[in-house]
Symmetry: D2
Subunit: 339 residues, 4 copies
């Protein structure tokens, strides 16, 4: 079976990783690559260093009609939020499956969009239909899904590390999520603020209390009314997210309890690896891979723990998770094209 795939936003960082993965996916054929910028006309092989000599469609200017003209079975949208929100209804109407890497269909509550994303959502009715594609927690919902909202990079790293431990959490507890991301998480930016000279040797927090990923984390933790404090930081590295998460437990807990919950959650997950207690992963363990790695340390008394989670923001935090979701939606093996 060959599935016809089009990629919109193919010249961005996530889009080019999608191109690199899908060009070698045994069940996919990349039939279209689209970009809104001045990159139209670029050869497919220019999208990623690994594509030198690999055939594929020339990058074309983004338009719904042009995308549908490639007769795609599935469209990956690695486009800006508002553009995705506008495009999804039209693409669905055109009969294609959509896997959206933007934030446009991640929140169920349409009223959050003006506040967090700066626009009124144009298709609020679809918010309830989108499958939130945190792959390892989707169970059967991805099979045959027509619209997948691929999770944010920070929420992916934090939810994978936190959801298994919900049975332990103290009532009404605050969950502190101190997260650090490489600069590619901000996308391709033509701003002095993101220049090498400004960021090399630098480090800073940003978006405290206002980042749009905070409500996404709170909503998809699916655990009462959690009090999530989320502080992202900008790391002077190109790729990777490390989240340090501070959890308080209702009762005294052992490392075995924690390990057992993680093992139950991820025994069959090919792309989540949980380390033994006390062994914490570093960014380099996962950069360039489709994995999430998790480690934890129980603090004295067993009433709290520090959990560390690492992913490559462009892979498990974007492109490779989108391909996991694609595989599941089309009934393929979860690791196809990713191993």
């Amino acid at each position: 079976m060959t599935i016809r795939v089009s990629i919109a936003g193919a010249t961005g960082y996530s889009g080019s990783e999608l191109a690199a993965i899908l060009a070698r996916h045994p069940s996919a054929e990349v039939v279209g690559a689209f970009s809104g910028g001045s990159s139209a006309g670029a050869p497919f092989a220019s999208l990623h260093p690994s594509l030198r000599g690999v055939p594929g469609p020339v990058v074309a200017p983004f338009s719904i009609d042009a995308i549908l003209a490639t007769k795609p079975d599935v469209v990956f949208l690695a486009t800006p939020n508002e553009l995705s929100a506008e495009a999804v209804p039209a693409l669905l109407a055109g009969g294609t499956t959509v896997i959206d890497l933007s934030g446009s269909f991640r929140l169920r509550d349409a009223s959050l969009y003006p506040v967090k994303y700066g626009f009124e959502h144009p298709a609020p009715a679809l918010l309830g239909e989108a499958v939130y594609g945190l792959t390892e927690w989707c169970n059967g919902s991805l099979a045959g899904a027509k619209l997948v909202a691929n999770p944010g990079c920070y929420p992916t790293s934090i939810l994978l590390a936190t959801r298994p431990l919900r049975p332990l959490l103290a009532e009404g507890t605050t969950i502190v999520c101190d997260a650090k991301s490489g600069v590619s998480g901000a996308g391709k930016r033509a701003e002095a603020e993101y220049s090498f000279t400004e960021l090399a040797g630098n480090f800073k927090a940003y978006g405290v209390g206002t980042h749009r990923h905070e409500p996404e984390i709170a909503a998809w933790l699916e655990h009462g009314e959690p009090n999530v404090i989320f502080v992202p930081h900008l790391l002077p590295v190109p790729r990777g997210i490390l989240s340090t998460i501070y959890l308080n437990f209702e009762e005294e807990t052992t490392a075995e309890d924690v390990a057992w919950l993680f093992a139950s959650a991820y025994a069959d997950a090919p792309f989540v690896h949980v380390h033994p207690a006390g062994r914490l992963p570093s960014l380099k363990d996962v950069v360039g891979t489709p994995r999430c790695e998790i480690g934890f340390t129980l603090l004295a008394g067993g009433r709290s723990a520090v959990v560390v989670s690492v992913i490559d923001n462009l892979l498990k935090g974007a492109a490779s998770q989108a391909v996991q979701n694609f595989n599941r939606a089309f009934g393929l093996g979860e690791t196809e094209g990713l191993a």
Copy 2:
């Protein structure tokens, strides 16, 4: 007045910053520079790029007798912990003032040394006599001090940001300190683990629940029996510490309340700068300077806040704070040699 100064451990990162500052200090004359390593014989000017052409003593092999032979009024010890612990009593007996940049006299409780530093403290009686040199909180205790324990780099960044807000803290609260340090904080290390190839593009947490700075922070917060969770991380930058601190308040608090407490604490502090609410400093604001900069954001409801503190770990976290303490101990202006 010219004060005779000797520096032990002059070839380490903190020691070489001390040499750079003290060589230009208007009231100091560097009469000795000592090193335990193979650096003996190195010219003084080789200690730091800013010293090219600046006269000063050749680096000599470390020994108590050699140091005392320079007839120092004060000795700065930028030496390993155990070496400092052994040297201090002999130097004090020799009649010199000692400013110790190691951890050997920072803790009052001698029983912590075997656990946290790996040695039985050789001079426990002196622990109570050492002035803990967090300059801005020393009031009059530095004047004429004979032994100053210069604070650790992490504790400096965290205590300066937290102590002013103690009146607000919730009863029995947990203080989460998520700290990130540049690699020079580990000292000059001949280990593959600290090599450029291993650390460039990497990031990791370490020492969770076991770092020796955790009891130092808890002790010198001087606020009941605080529950401090301290997680240090290794940033891929040469210099600088950024600490993100999560505080819970007993009552609803306003930004004005917080700003007022900071202003009260640091109105006359030349090297602490507190930003207006919502403006958080970044590493680059302080690297290469003797300052601590602090920012904060109140979270919704006013019952918690995120405080961010940045310092240069080798300056305010080591050498420049040591010179502040030297200035105060000898009755000089606090900014002398540092402005």
Copy 3:
């Protein structure tokens, strides 16, 4: 004596280094700071981390009238090339001395400006009057100079390393200059190409055979019709230039010959340091300092040599050399404000 100083382009990288130096210069008073961008209104202290708490003029929008209204004795122009070219005649007419850090008055040959700088030179008559401010080679020409063309960063590093050895050069020889610069050399750039994500871990050559510094090097080598091949590269560091220069000698030469020529040239130069044969300087020896450091290795046979030269591109390659020139032009000590 206090000299009234205005800085135009104060928010750029070179301009902010100028502000940092001149604010502490014992004979200067910064009376104006100007910027063409959206930075107008920024407080003086925001220009550089070392200026926190230092008084100075608020940044004002750039205009000739506004600059002259500050009644400056000297104006430092750290402005774009074409802007400098337009401003200089008006400023000179206003009676002030001008030290121009742009390329607008570095070339004597006006016909090169359309080709290399993209504009017709508006004041070709002044090209012959400007003093090319490679300080160590200016002899008396800087005293009382009204217009100083501060050299380019690459030419500074290459000319200082090459001019002393002209007596040795083979007739009609080609001089290969393989130069590598930190990213700040490109100025504050709001372009994706200069973003951290693109440049971290990357390295490349650029401008081969077309860079505007090539004719500047060739002209100011002042040695026949030299065949200079200049290939600049972009280093993934914020600051610093290292130039590797390959020279062929007319006759067999010894290390002593080379050392003697360097010593003759720079015996009294406070900011040029030449290492003994075989000891090559690295970028870190000079970053943050106003020095040029030079090293060399004679190759087998003594008919060729490799010379390595390092500077901080923003200091000796721009701001500190401008202040050296200022000091000389106003009869101050050459190291004033720089030591």
Copy 4:
């Protein structure tokens, strides 16, 4: 056909890349992994982030007997030079093919070993038998080869860029090779000199006129008695080599001439890509890939050119070229396991 493969030095940087490639090679089975250090006992999957979950042999202590006991068809030696020199005769006597990534069999002239490598060569008779594995220039010599000397990283980048242009070179010309390598080229180093703190933001030349790769380049250029000047530099990046090569031509030459020679040399080379005239590759084009990319610019007059060549020092400069050679030696497709 499954070929039994053992890897010695599997925990070094080149060795771990070999493990990552060979573990997924369709015609290879990794039957042994050996290391001289304290890494014995490490699980195979710990050798490289991409190997998580991949089965393979536990790392065993290096010994000839232990290697031969794995009954290998081929042994890859990613071991120190002197160790390789000692091991090769014994392994060949044991009947296995050897692909040696060290420098021990790269030079034909045994008298160079004491000078350049610091040891008397123990098996000079084998120097003439080893195939110098610059794959694209080996023609038939690799088929069935029993001993392959895998080229050095610098020579690979320089020879691939220079050999095709030999017909153009001026008689008796000097070839300047200004090369820049990422830090992993130095291997896993437990030395303060290679620490992150020392190298971040730094850049330097080293080994001018003395580097052991200089005679390797000169010998394998196979073009008269070339006068090669080779100056390596240490780039603050983990991986990648960029060489800037300055060539003088006997006659006036056009870009078409140069392009034609490159095309003739590499028309069928899957891992060498030559850019059109004037388009120079950067490090990022090749890091993480098995390719060499080459660009060139003709200088005015057509009598000289600048050629830029980039490789990943651990792949085309070591591991992937070794696998190319393995593929050729065993009659497999050249791209097998590498595409």
